[in-house]
């Protein structure tokens, strides 16, 4: 008796494409996305972009810079990237800080003048010119990685400087060396310098101390979000908000399918209302609904998690409305493409969860490999989150939102036009 029940269930599942997609395609898609992000494929490990400013230009600082440039897990930028091949000036301490603030890189290292005279920080003196590490505190991983790699690079790239510094301390605090000892020491240092010059020292493979209290002095300073109480709350308010906006928008656009089923759509279209008017009305409604939803979410974030909503009202309204237009048009497109509510439910769940994972609604995109970060740019989530981050995290002016606003509005318009084209199937039999 059990067999017929199983057979009936299998036949039903086979004919329910939506359930089949949810059962098999969604888990495989999710597995693939997570595997690509966290799967440990070496060539897909995300590289950390770091801006490097060498104000010292000493032998020691140049050795350190070269060592950092050789680190495979870092992308060292000494000047802003340009699409054409025009020459642009190198970063300075000021431009590097500005670049971190706008999100061009999560970390900047400033090697100050005088660093080469006292590069090593061990010993009781505090006269060393420490390296400045400027960071964006929304990225909690990058500064620690860079700190560790900096210490490693110092350890492995500057053996001569370390030896010289050690000799100075010996000379100063242990009573000095005899002329014979000093001569031998200088002779060994010369040999070491020669080896380093000719590449005889392996300066890339030895492991180093990754601690912030390493052999060189580093002064860490957050240039973005240093006064913010909850670094990730505004990020997640936007990230989770956009994901659920997409669900709400597809749900509210699904009313079209109900109305087509009940005959109400036919009756409406037999009146003075045209399909374009009807869809425009529904798009406006979905947009306002989505914006209201976002507003409620950010008010909650303000009340409970102290997100500074009221200092960012213009940016919030601009980003909120742009995002709402895009998600409303997305929902309308899905509804116009689907034949039934059940199909819409399955397709929207599949697409929205994939978009949300790739687009950064589930975890920040900077965790992802570069290829996935680029793939995220094909999602509404990524553009919306980037825009909200600019507003709430980087405190950028609303003029800085133009790329995100342009893309979201363009997406909204294009998706609406495609939805309108597909909706012709409801206009006439």
């Amino acid at each position: 008796m059990i067999l017929p029940i199983i057979r009936t269930a299998i036949v039903s599942l086979r004919r329910d494409r939506a359930a089949l997609a949810l059962s098999f395609i969604l888990p495989i898609s999710f597995f693939s996305i997570f595997a690509a992000i966290f799967g440990g494929q070496r060539d897909a490990t995300p590289k950390i972009h770091v801006i490097l400013v060498d104000e010292d230009q000493s032998t020691a600082s140049q050795q350190l810079v070269h060592a950092l440039q050789r680190e495979t897990s870092l992308v060292v930028m000494t000047q802003p990237a340009t699409k054409d091949k025009t020459t642009v000036p190198d970063y300075t301490a000021v431009t590097a800080e500005a670049a971190v603030k706008v999100g061009d890189a999560p970390v900047a290292l400033i090697v100050p003048k005088g660093f080469g005279q006292n590069p090593i920080s061990f010993g009781p003196t505090h006269t060393v010119s420490g390296i400045q590490l400027l960071n964006d505190s929304s990225d909690i991983i990058a500064p620690q990685m860079v700190m560790g790699l900096l210490q490693k690079a110092a350890m492995t790239s500057m053996p001569v400087a370390m030896a010289e510094q050690g000799m100075k301390y010996t000379d100063r605090y242990i009573g000095g060396l005899t002329p014979e000892q000093r001569k031998t020491m200088e002779s060994n240092l010369d040999a070491l310098r020669e080896l380093q010059k000719t590449g005889g020292l392996n300066t890339t493979t030895s492991s180093g101390n990754s601690s912030g209290d390493g052999i060189i002095s580093v002064h860490e300073r957050a240039v973005v979000g240093e006064y913010k109480k909850s670094p990730m709350v505004s990020f997640y308010a936007a990230a989770i908000g956009v994901m659920f906006l997409l669900f709400t928008a597809s749900g509210s656009a699904g009313v079209l399918l109900d109305e087509a089923d009940s005959g109400t759509l036919d009756r409406v279209l037999s009146s003075h209302i045209t399909m374009t008017t009807l869809l425009a009305g529904k798009l406006t409604y979905s947009t306002l609904l989505a914006f209201t939803q976002l507003t409620v979410m950010f008010l909650w974030a303000w009340a409970v998690f102290h997100v500074d909503l009221f200092s960012h009202i213009p940016g919030f309204i601009i980003m909120g409305l742009s995002t709402a237009v895009a998600v409303a048009a997305f929902g309308m497109l899905l509804a116009s493409m689907c034949q039934t509510r059940a199909q819409l439910g399955a397709v929207s769940t599949l697409l929205i969860l994939i978009m949300s994972s790739v687009g950064g609604s589930m975890f920040p995109r900077y965790f992802m490999p570069p290829a996935m970060q680029k793939a995220g740019l094909f999602t509404i989530n990524a553009w919306a989150i980037d825009g909200f981050t600019k507003v709430f995290w980087r405190d950028l002016p609303i003029t800085a939102l133009w790329p995100q606003v342009s893309v979201l509005l363009a997406v909204g318009i294009v998706l609406f036009l495609v939805a309108r084209r597909i909706a012709r199937r409801w206009e006439f039999a």
Binding site: S262, G263, D266, R267, S270, S271, H272, I273, F428, A429
Partner: protein, 317 residues
């Protein structure tokens, strides 16, 4: 039922004119050259079984189906024109109302879609609620109404803009007899205002009660058109029908009925006779054949008989 006055009318004054309407869906020809005219104040019935093409004709009139060929005009204007849309009201077969809106909110919504506003809209909503006897339920959600009330609301939403031509597509489907009578009263009240009505149904009784003229439609074609009396007279002249029920084995009864030119319909034998005196001969023959008569009656043919006569099938088949 009185027939519409036979006065000459121009196309501009004719509420509805359909000429050689054809609509195919793939290999299926749903409407195969239908031509009809509806006069002011007239109720024209489209009578036919399910799938005959009635709804397709109605949907073509309201512009929801694009004909392959043919022409439809409303007061002389093409059916898809703004002028025609303003003059047309449509009560679809489906319950096409918003279930989460109240009766009043539904009427306001559909009135607005037709361009009504302000006092005009308020008056129209009030009139429709009264017409549909839903004043007491104006604030109730449409989804919570009984089947009959939903049907009445569905009808009210179709005439909210006071159209001069109303198309009603099987408005009594699925309602109880009491609600059906209420709907008939609504339609009769609407007719009294001079509104032209096209009424599709597969219930012969409805067509007989409500319609001035009836077009019998089958397989997408009009196979007969006229008043009730004209249709019966054309099909049966002065003949009548004898309905008889016999006790005994069904097979033997059916064979005897067939041998005497009759047919079995729901265990009842039907015969068509010219004169009532022929009944006696039939009953004598049945007795001779060993059939025990249970019940016999004489009936004037009706629209159902006409449909059966013309197509060889029953309306509800």
């Amino acid at each position: 039922m009185a027939s519409a006055p036979a006065v000459p009318v121009s196309s501009a004054t004719l509420p509805l004119a359909i000429e050689a309407l054809v609509r195919r869906f793939g290999a299926l020809t749903a409407v195969a050259g239908v031509s009809l005219e509806v006069r002011a104040g007239e109720c024209l019935g489209l009578l036919g079984p399910n799938g005959a093409g009635k709804s397709t004709v109605i949907r073509a009139i309201v512009g929801r189906v694009i004909p392959d060929s043919g022409r439809i005009t409303v007061f002389g204007a093409a059916a898809d024109s703004t002028q025609a849309r303003a003059a047309l009201g449509w009560v679809p077969q489906e319950l096409a109302v918003y279930p989460r809106l109240t009766c009043k909110e539904n009427l306001v919504a559909f009135g607005s879609y037709h361009g009504l506003s302000g006092k005009q809209l308020a008056e129209s909503v009030a009139w429709c609620l009264e017409w549909a006897a839903l004043q007491d339920r104006a604030g109730d959600l449409a989804g919570k109404l009984s089947g009959g009330m939903k049907r009445r609301l569905n009808m009210a939403a179709g005439i909210i803009q006071h159209p001069r031509v109303v198309l009603m597509d099987e408005p009594t489907v699925g309602v109880d007899p009491q609600s059906r009578n209420r709907i008939f009263e609504m339609i009769e009240a609407l007719r009294a205002t001079g509104t032209a009505i096209v009424y599709t149904t597969h219930y012969m009784e409805e067509a007989e009660r409500l319609c001035d003229r009836v077009a019998i439609i089958d397989h997408g074609r009009i196979i007969a058109l006229g008043t009730n009396e004209e249709l019966v007279r054309n099909a049966f002249a002065s003949r009548s029908q004898v309905l008889a029920r016999f006790a005994g084995p069904v097979g033997r009864i059916a064979a005897w009925v067939e041998s005497h030119g009759g047919r079995m319909v729901d265990a009842t034998a039907e015969f068509t006779i010219e004169r009532s005196i022929e009944i006696a001969a039939l009953l004598d023959s049945a007795a001779s054949g060993g059939l025990e008569l249970e019940d016999v009656s004489l009936r004037r043919p009706n629209l159902e008989s006409v449909f059966l006569h013309l197509t060889g099938r029953e309306l509800r088949e």
